[in-house]
């Protein structure tokens, strides 16, 4: 029985691609900005204040988990406070791979931007 499930697990891990989605990129950037304060509630609030996107914590959870699985994020439980009813929070941190991925995306974009002929972006008034 455990055999069946293990093979399933391995398979699913391999299936995840390594490219970065738009929302994933946003989350990674926010985590970087927040540094030691990067836990779900703060990420949610930061995303709202920075880009006005209202996201529930529940909706963030799978994205964060996925990024961890891809190896871009690391997390640990710490910092129980009174307003959290004595529960610890999961603080996220970018791994080296995560930082690389962000840089790669930025460079790829920059490369693409450079290739755009200048006139192509000008608004045409007819």
């Amino acid at each position: 029985m455990s055999f069946v499930h293990n093979s399933y697990k391995i398979e699913t891990n391999n299936m995840k691609g390594t490219n970065l989605g738009e929302f994933e990129e946003l989350v990674l950037l926010v985590v970087l900005i927040l540094q030691e304060q990067a836990y779900v509630l703060n990420i949610k609030d930061e995303i709202y204040s920075q880009v006005k996107r209202s996201i529930t914590m529940g909706a963030l959870h799978p994205t964060l988990t996925r990024l961890e699985k891809k190896g871009y994020l690391d997390s640990e439980l710490s910092g129980a406070t009174k307003e959290r009813g004595g529960r610890r929070k999961r603080i996220y941190q970018l791994t080296a791979a995560g930082k690389n991925a962000l840089i790669e995306v930025r460079e790829m974009r920059a490369g693409l931007w450079k290739q755009i002929p200048e006139f192509a972006l000008k608004l045409v008034h007819v």
Partner: protein
């Protein structure tokens, strides 16, 4: 207050998270939620608890839930199950299709019946005070049997209010009437006019589109019309304030003061299109006479107990107002209160203007619906069990891989659920599409209201019931297979299950045979009713209502004019045609002690001749002998028997009819004829030669030249009564209309017996196709040994023939019992014993259809060459 809460450990959101989420995530999620809630408290946002709930529920997703976790033994199954279910359905295409088809047809019937029955039961339920409103009925006796009378007279309401002022809150009278309604050049005969007390729209809750319930009937000439009529007379114009004329003997102007809604949803036992103020009759003498019964009196009483208390005081109430009359006529009348909720289904009341439904029909329909559902469920159970062999290996493998029994059951129930969902959707769409066809076939007006919350409950309940009923047993059975015995290739035997499967087939055919036989027997009774010699001529008799003063003033000329045509054989005018209205009254004959209640017919001299009624003794009415003081009277044989005199004694006896102030002399005796429906025994009837009370003309036409005859009648009518349109019907049609309910029942039975036999055969088809496949090899060997195709078919069929015979044995006595009860409502009916063969027909028809199905399916297997069928091991 709630908006400033703190989340405690026991808050339901915490419990929910702890129960459903993965253990390793709980601490973090709880912490996040608590902190979020805290931060909400400090902010100035609205809907705080809603926002909080949104967060809680958005946390419940596959990535956090325990059951989706890879360490759970339910995870992968949970995700894959729907796919598996679909796959299984497609794999077993034929049986899935049969199941879906069966359920779909069954559900279509159920939906239609549900909405129809719901509609019937919803009569009068829209009134706020429906439980407080009572109809005042009079109770009278005719020669020993009590019966209720729907009409009362004008003074009752006032007297009741006065004598029971503490308990009767209010009263309302309503008088149905008809008349020629005209507005400018539009002129129609309206027979649903109601004249009612001023408080009508407060007493009842008929919805006014315009007008104030308190004042809309405020003035004597105000008139409220239905939306339909507003459209009919005024088109798009505002009808309020317009003057409309109602013509009876004279023309009366009315001003329209309101419009009420008459949509399909408003179902009432009171049928009306126009409502006027009852003061309209105030100047008429009859309106103030206690004995002129013609209107309906309603009262409002707070509780049933108070109503029962009032009923106990009714005898003394009646004595107070009728004491002298009772002494004089020797006959008492009592009152009773009928709760309005019962009015619609109480169709035993006589002289009743209320619209009625037939509770018995509803019950039968309900049972038929349930029977059809059973058949569909049995199909499912049967097929599932037949195919369980096929799935034995699947079950074995699953079990070896560690799937628990409960999960297997969930899987099988899930498959049924999918079949049901598909069937529900298809049935819903199909029934909506086929609704017009249904309605016109059954002559009903059923609308489907899917959006009602009760419909939702009904469908959900039905779904659960069907699911449990059809899938639990097969699921339990299949999940009980032992992996060891199914996987090592040994054959699984189902001793007990075969019995159950056969039992189900027997049940299905029992229902089918029952319905077929019932259809045939009901049809025979209707045939009997239609063809029975009623003792009078009913073919080619035109009944024309004597409905206006133009014609009433010229009765004799009109009749004489009609007779000038060679196509008109005879004409007579009378109070009520056979099948129509025959009032009851008490008669007194000097020398006869007891008072006899008799039904009455007032007619001209030509009554017996026109209708072809045979005179047994004495003489007929003669035109010249019409005398208002000393009327000629003929009674029927039943009347003679009731009086207990001999034929010789009765001729020439004086008769007085106290209620009518008529004195007369008996001149003859007629044979008994069926002046009311065949449901009732022939009652004593007194036929009186008068020139009054004639409401109908009976015109005997030449049956070969009906059209010419009718044209002549219509032309003559138009000459005498140019403003009033003619209203006519044929006597035989009108008589058959008396059995409208039975005709409908017959249609229902014939349609649903068709459905039931179809469904039963669908089930058999599934079973046979399965067993033909199972027995492929056996049949191949039989062929090698010399069996012919016919022999093989008969071999397979024999089994089922036994089952159908068993079903017939069960169905015939049940149907016999049912039909016997059904026939009891007819005083004149077919002798059920003489129609024994119809019961057999039921069995034979079912057997033939089933055998045909079997033969067609088996033939396919029987013609396969044995080399093909036994090739594979």
């Amino acid at each position: 207050m709630f908006d400033q809460m703190n989340v405690s450990d026991k808050h339901f959101s915490m419990v929910l998270i702890r129960r459903l989420c993965r253990p390793e995530l709980i601490e973090e999620i709880e912490g996040n939620l608590i902190e979020y809630r805290q931060s909400l408290n400090s902010k100035k946002t609205s809907f705080k608890s809603l926002r909080y709930l949104l967060e809680v529920f958005s946390y419940l997703r596959p990535s956090t839930l325990k059951i989706f976790s890879k360490n759970s033994n339910k995870g992968p199954m949970f995700i894959l199950k729907p796919l598996q279910t679909f796959r299984t359905l497609f794999k077993h295409g034929t049986s899935s299709l049969i199941n879906i088809l069966g359920f779909t047809i069954g559900l279509m019937c159920i939906f239609f019946l549900y909405f129809y029955i719901g509609q019937e039961l919803s009569y009068d339920s829209f009134h706020r005070d429906r439980d407080k409103i009572y109809r005042v009925l009079r109770v009278s006796t005719i020669n020993g049997t009590k019966y209720d009378i729907g009409v009362t007279s004008g003074p009752y309401a006032g007297a009741l209010l006065q004598d029971f002022e503490n308990t009767i809150q209010s009263a309302c009278r309503a008088m149905p009437d008809d008349g020629l309604v005209s507005f400018e050049d539009k002129r129609f005969m309206e027979d649903e006019i109601l004249f009612a007390d001023e408080n009508f729209f407060q007493f009842f809750d008929f919805k006014l589109v315009s007008g104030d319930p308190e004042s809309v009937l405020g003035s004597p000439n105000s008139l409220v019309i239905s939306e339909t009529l507003a459209e009919k007379y005024f088109g798009g114009d505002n009808p309020l304030g317009k003057t409309i004329h109602i013509r009876q003997n004279e023309e009366y102007p009315f001003i329209i003061s309101g419009v009420f809604r008459d949509s399909e949803e408003i179902r009432s036992h009171l049928a009306f299109e126009l409502v006027g103020n009852i003061e309209f009759y105030d100047s008429r003498r009859w309106f103030h006479n206690w004995w002129s019964n013609g209107l309906i009196t309603y009262v409002k009483i707070d509780s049933r107990i108070e109503a029962a208390g009032i009923e106990q005081q009714f005898p003394s109430f009646m004595d107070k107002y009728f004491g002298d009359d009772f002494k004089r006529s020797g006959n008492r009348i009592n009152l009773k209160l009928e709760p309005m909720g019962e009015t619609y289904f109480n169709n035993q009341t006589r002289y009743d203007f209320a619209k009625h439904g037939d509770y018995n029909s509803i019950r039968i329909l309900g049972l038929v619906g349930i029977a059809i559902l059973f058949i569909a469920c049995f199909n499912y159970v049967n097929l599932a069990m037949a195919f369980s062999f096929k799935r034995a290996k699947e079950v074995g493998v699953r079990k070896v891989l560690g799937v628990t029994r409960s999960r297997l059951i969930t899987q099988f129930v899930g498959e049924s659920f999918l079949v049901l969902i598909v069937s529900f959707v298809v049935a819903g769409i199909m029934s909506e599409l086929l609704r017009p066809a249904f309605n016109s076939f059954f002559q009903l007006d059923v609308t489907f209201k899917w959006m009602d919350i009760r419909v939702g409950y009904f469908i959900a309940g039905l779904m659960v019931a069907l699911l449990l009923f059809s899938s639990l047993y097969p699921a339990a059975l299949m999940s009980s297979f032992r992996p060891l015995s199914v996987l090592n290739g040994r054959k699984i035997t189902f001793g007990k299950n075969m019995v159950l499967r056969k039992g189900l087939v027997i049940m299905q055919f029992t229902i089918s045979i029952f319905m077929i036989a019932a259809t045939l027997l009901i049809a025979s009774q209707l045939d009997f009713v239609r063809n029975k010699d009623l003792g009078f001529r009913k073919n080619a008799i035109l009944i024309v209502s004597n409905n206006n003063s133009d014609i009433r003033q010229n009765v004799e000329n009109f009749k004489a004019e009609l007779l000038t045509s060679p196509h008109v054989l005879d004409v007579s005018s009378m109070s009520g045609e056979p099948g129509g209205f025959h009032d009851a009254t008490t008669i007194q004959i000097p020398g006869v002690e007891k008072l006899i209640r008799m039904r009455t017919a007032f007619s001209d001299y030509n009554y017996l001749r026109t209708l072809g009624i045979t005179l047994t003794v004495g003489s007929n009415f003669e035109k010249e002998l019409l005398s208002e003081e000393n009327a000629a009277i003929i009674i029927n044989e039943s009347g003679l028997n009731e009086l207990g005199l001999t034929r010789e004694e009765i001729i020439g006896r004086e008769v007085t009819m106290p209620g009518w102030e008529i004195n007369g002399k008996i001149v003859g005796i007629s044979e008994d004829f069926h002046f009311s429906s065949l449901r009732d025994r022939i009652e004593p009837l007194i036929m009186v030669h008068t020139s009054d009370y004639h409401r109908q003309y009976a015109i005997a036409l030449h049956s070969e030249n009906l059209l010419e005859g009718m044209n002549h009648v219509e032309e003559t009518w138009t000459r005498f009564s140019p403003t009033f349109p003619i209203q006519y019907k044929f006597l035989d049609d009108a008589l058959y209309q008396l059995y409208e309910n039975e005709v409908k029942q017959n249609k229902v039975f014939s349609a649903f017996s068709g459905v039931s036999i179809f469904l039963a055969c669908l089930g058999i088809l599934g079973l046979v196709s399965y067993s033909a496949k199972q027995r492929q090899k056996e049949l191949g060997i039989r062929k090698i040994l010399g069996a012919s195709v016919a022999q093989i078919i008969s071999l397979v069929s024999k089994e089922y023939l036994v089952l159908i015979s068993a079903a017939a044995v069960l169905a015939i006595p049940a149907c016999w019992y049912f039909i016997d009860g059904w026939l009891e409502s007819f005083a004149y009916r077919i002798e059920i014993n003489a129609y024994w063969y119809l019961f057999l027909y039921g069995g034979i028809v079912s057997a033939m259809v089933a055998l045909l199905t079997i033969a067609l399916r088996t033939y396919k297997s029987a013609i396969i060459s044995p080399t093909e069928s036994i090739k594979y091991e």
